[in-house]
């Protein structure tokens, strides 16, 4: 006899428990994942608004809608919100929480209460970050990197912002710890390492980076806080400190952090492409190992952010070389995805569209990354819009489109309803068009010498800046269409079957939405995650 927990969908109240408390104090990984998803999307909205306002300011030289100090605060907060509140926790904390235990046939994560704590830490950090906007000496104006010695001296509210980042770091560490333990210990008996879905592999690699690198971030921002409070002088050159030390510490975390951002998105794409090509993934082991290789090599390249900061030439050459090494596992993935599509029975659905968008934009971002990673060319484009464009191609084009792909892939599973696919396709065109219009001109004006983070610019950059601003409007239109199309699936009867896309990983064997309690008995895992023989679409 089945208990209600095994039949009632997790979105519906468990008998006898309902209301908001059954969500915010739930230890169910699926509900915590949903909490993360809503929090992250709210923060995404904040970040987008800040970004669009900045672009609007830059549509013409000189003052347009805000003064310089406001602009400084805007780009700082856009960075802090997007990086620490959206991109880093985005896919692992939201989709990872919901899907990881389902993909490996576990009841839940290893430490459900710790999991809940990490969401609460996230919420606390996010709240503090927002409070730092309105209290103290005004919003922080240092840029999201909090570079010393300016961050030690500015009277703006940097102290509170770094406390927020510190707390968010712990949220990230706990999630990573939880995932590693879960993957090691809670796999279903037949779920060998070789049968792990690639999304789970990517979460595993990511979790190690979170565990390895995030403590350094915690220490670094804690030191800024102490410096501001007590003036110890670790980083302050006027007290014998070393600003370069700060940059090292900061980037030891923050470069691996971009792999925390991108690797889970790669995992999403690795799960989507074979499902829509109806073909086993090409090079399963290579993709799985390349995730680990990125995690490992990505931890050794941080100083390529500092080529012009005054390091020794030897250090510059070593870090430049290591940066090129990271390109190898990334390229392995891209080639394997393309090879998976080759001779596949492709059916083009929104998740695949977004996955293809990911491949295109990520490749553009990755290749321009080599321009930056090469010490010689780096000197010329350092701190220009070229960097801004590269970064957004990798992170927004990569992680952002990975997130959108994940939403379009798994929303039917989570909500039991299909979204408006036509609107999803329309939004895809708007997003891709707007995205390239917004960021591609930045490559051009960056090469022409437009420095990043400047409030104002020479008239020669105006065309590029204007095209870019107009692109931001198209992009926002795309976002609105996409979220409207998705939100329509939040209502109406649940009609979607277990497996609308005909995917072969374990979560698709469950009802949509999954019940409160899943896999109370460990499932059989008769086949690999990408063998589609006998798996049919069940819309």
């Amino acid at each position: 006899m089945h208990s209600p927990g095994e039949t009632v969908p997790f979105l519906d109240p468990y008998p006898g428990r309902s209301g908001i408390l059954s969500w915010i104090f739930s230890t169910d990984h699926k509900r915590i994942g949903m909490l993360y998803l809503w929090s992250i999307l709210s923060m995404f909205a904040v970040g987008v608004v800040l970004g669009v306002l900045m672009r609007l300011e830059l549509i013409a030289p000189g003052r347009t809608i805000m003064d310089a100090q406001t602009y400084n605060a805007m780009f700082t907060l856009h960075g802090v919100v997007m990086i620490f509140l959206l991109v880093i926790p985005g896919i692992p904390a939201a989709f990872g929480n919901i899907l990881l235990p389902l993909q490996i046939g576990a009841e839940d994560v290893s430490f459900p209460r710790l999991n809940l704590l990490s969401w609460w830490l996230y919420l606390t950090g996010a709240t503090l970050a927002v409070i730092s906007l309105f209290t103290g000496g005004g919003p922080p104006d240092t840029g999201w990197t909090f570079y010393v010695p300016f961050s030690e001296r500015t009277t703006t509210n940097v102290s509170l912002a770094v406390v927020a980042v510190f707390i968010l770091g712990f949220s990230s560490i706990l999630t990573g710890l939880n995932f590693i333990t879960t993957i090691h210990r809670l796999r279903a008996p037949q779920m060998s390492w070789g049968k792990l879905p690639l999304f789970t592999w990517s979460l595993y690699a990511t979790a190690w980076i979170q565990l390895l690198a995030t403590p350094v971030l915690g220490i670094t921002v804690a030191l800024i806080f102490i410096e501001r409070l007590l003036g110890i002088g670790l980083f302050d050159p006027s007290k014998g400190g070393d600003p370069l030390l700060y940059q090292h510490l900061f980037w030891i975390y923050s470069h691996p952090a971009v792999y925390i951002m991108i690797v889970p998105a790669m995992g999403v794409v690795s799960d989507i492409i074979p499902a829509f090509a109806r073909k086993s993934v090409f090079g399963y082991k290579a993709i799985a190992i390349s995730s680990l290789a990125i995690a490992f090599a990505g931890s050794l390249v941080w100083a390529h952010h500092m080529f012009v900061s005054g390091m020794s030439d030897t250090a510059v050459m070593v870090f430049s070389f290591l940066t090129f090494v990271v390109a190898i596992p990334s390229a392995v993935k891209v080639f394997n995805w393309v090879a998976t599509l080759y001779k596949g029975s492709i059916y083009l659905e929104p998740p695949l569209m977004f996955a293809l968008g990911f491949i295109f934009l990520f490749s553009a971002g990755g290749l321009t990354g080599l321009v930056l990673g090469s010490a010689g060319t780096n000197i010329h484009v350092h701190d220009t819009y070229f960097v801004v464009a590269h970064f957004h191609y990798v992170i927004f084009g990569g992680m952002g489109f990975g997130l959108f792909a994940a939403m379009h892939f798994w929303f039917p599973k989570i909500f039991g309803r299909m979204y408006d696919r036509r609107m999803a396709n329309v939004s895809w065109y708007l997003l891709i068009g707007g995205f390239n219009m917004l960021y591609f001109p930045m490559f051009v004006i960056g090469l022409q010498g437009m420095p990043r983070r400047y409030y104002d610019y020479l008239p020669m950059y105006q065309t590029g800046q204007m095209v870019s601003t107009v692109g931001s409007w198209v992009l926002v239109a795309g976002l609105i269409v996409m979220f409207y199309g998705l939100s329509k699936c939040l209502h109406g009867p649940r009609t979607v079957g277990n497996n609308p896309w005909g995917a072969a990983t374990l979560e698709w064997t469950l009802p949509s939405p999954p019940p409160h309690l899943t896999f109370l008995d460990p499932p059989d895992v008769p086949r690999g995650p990408y063998s589609y023989e006998g798996v049919s679409r069940d819309e």
Partner: protein, 344 residues
């Protein structure tokens, strides 16, 4: 096993996130700095503040394309303090420019004045008396009879003064003016214990570095007594102070017109030949130029202690984190998969 693992991790974790040793080293480093360096820290603080306050002026000369990487330690300081959004106040093309937003920083402790107070358009102390490298007494009015680059240094300086003068030997031959006729360089010692003999020795050294192609009257080396040094340096806005055998002082050179008017400040240890040419040309026309603010490097005593502490700090943190992670990985591998008891 699961809870044991959790407890183990929670117990060990704080020691990674807040390594005692790391805080201790930070504390030691701070103590070390404050103990023998307190006053210097204060002045430097002030000097840096001075730098920031006129960082607003930076972009005037800082064309958008000019991002020459400078590998002088001071650069990090500099770029950190330049407010990113506040840009050029006068680049051509459009009129109404944003006034950099008001942004108050803590007022410096005004105890001493190490640093530069720019006195553009004012006149140097013409009556200040010095000795030239031949031991002859001269006034500044007699010396400054043509566009002059004044280089305040002290001859026994262990680092930046030697660096700036050496870089002048490399740069001066590229200045597109006739030395000794269209312009001259005057190194003035602010150490009252420096003697004309030492000055002559210095002059010989630096001219030798240029293979004696630079005319002797093109680069003068002056020494003087404390009162006259103060008089001149105050008129130049050059704040310095003796600290034991050495001095705390900013690194800057000035261009002065034939009438003794200060027309330009050039910061950093390696001025560009172009800037020197411009400065001397403007000085010839009595026109005040803009301050070239490439790098404001301060003369700090190198603190190998601090460096070592910092390095230890990184090593301890890194080793701690890696050790904990290795323990975690090994214990997970040993623990294997969790045994699930079948229901019913």
């Amino acid at each position: 096993m699961r809870s044991a693992l959790l407890i183990f991790i929670l117990l060990t974790w704080p020691s990674v996130a807040f390594p005692q040793s790391a805080l201790q080293t930070a504390h030691d480093a701070a103590a070390a700095v404050t103990a023998h360096d307190h006053s210097m820290a204060q002045q430097a603080d002030e000097a840096l503040h001075a730098e920031h306050s006129d960082a607003q002026a930076l972009p005037k000369d800082h064309a958008a394309g000019d991002r020459t990487p400078v590998v002088v330690p001071g650069e990090a300081t500099n770029s950190g303090l330049v407010k990113p959004g506040a840009m050029s106040a006068d680049h051509a093309g459009h009129g109404e420019q944003p006034v950099p937003a008001e942004h108050v920083h803590p007022a410096p402790v005004a105890e001493t004045s190490i640093g530069v107070t720019e006195k553009l358009g004012e006149f140097i102390a013409a009556e200040a008396r010095f000795f030239d490298e031949g031991g002859k007494a001269v006034t500044m009015a007699e010396i400054v009879d043509k566009p002059t680059i004044i280089v305040p240094v002290y001859f026994s300086c262990p680092n930046v003064c030697a660096i700036i003068q050496s870089s002048l030997t490399a740069v001066l031959p590229d200045v597109k003016l006739e030395p000794g006729v269209d312009f001259q360089v005057v190194s003035v010692s602010f150490d009252d214990t420096d003697t004309p003999t030492l000055a002559a020795h210095q002059k010989n050294n630096y001219l030798a570095a240029m293979d004696f192609t630079f005319p002797e009257n093109g680069w003068r080396f002056l020494t003087g007594d404390e009162a006259n040094i103060r008089k001149l340096m105050d008129s130049l806005g050059f704040g310095f102070r003796r600290e034991g055998k050495d001095f705390l002082h900013p690194v800057v050179i000035m261009a002065v017109s034939p009438k003794g008017k200060i027309v330009r400040y050039l910061y950093g240890t390696r001025p560009l030949a172009f800037d020197l040419t411009m400065a001397a040309t403007e000085a010839g026309k009595e026109r005040i130029g803009l301050s070239v603010k490439r790098v404001l490097a301060y003369c700090f005593s190198y603190d190998p202690e601090g460096k070592r502490y910092a390095f230890n700090f990184m090593k301890i943190t890194g080793t701690g984190i890696l050790f904990i992670l290795a323990v975690l990985l090994v214990s997970l591998m040993l623990a294997g998969r969790k045994k699930r008891t079948p229901r019913n």
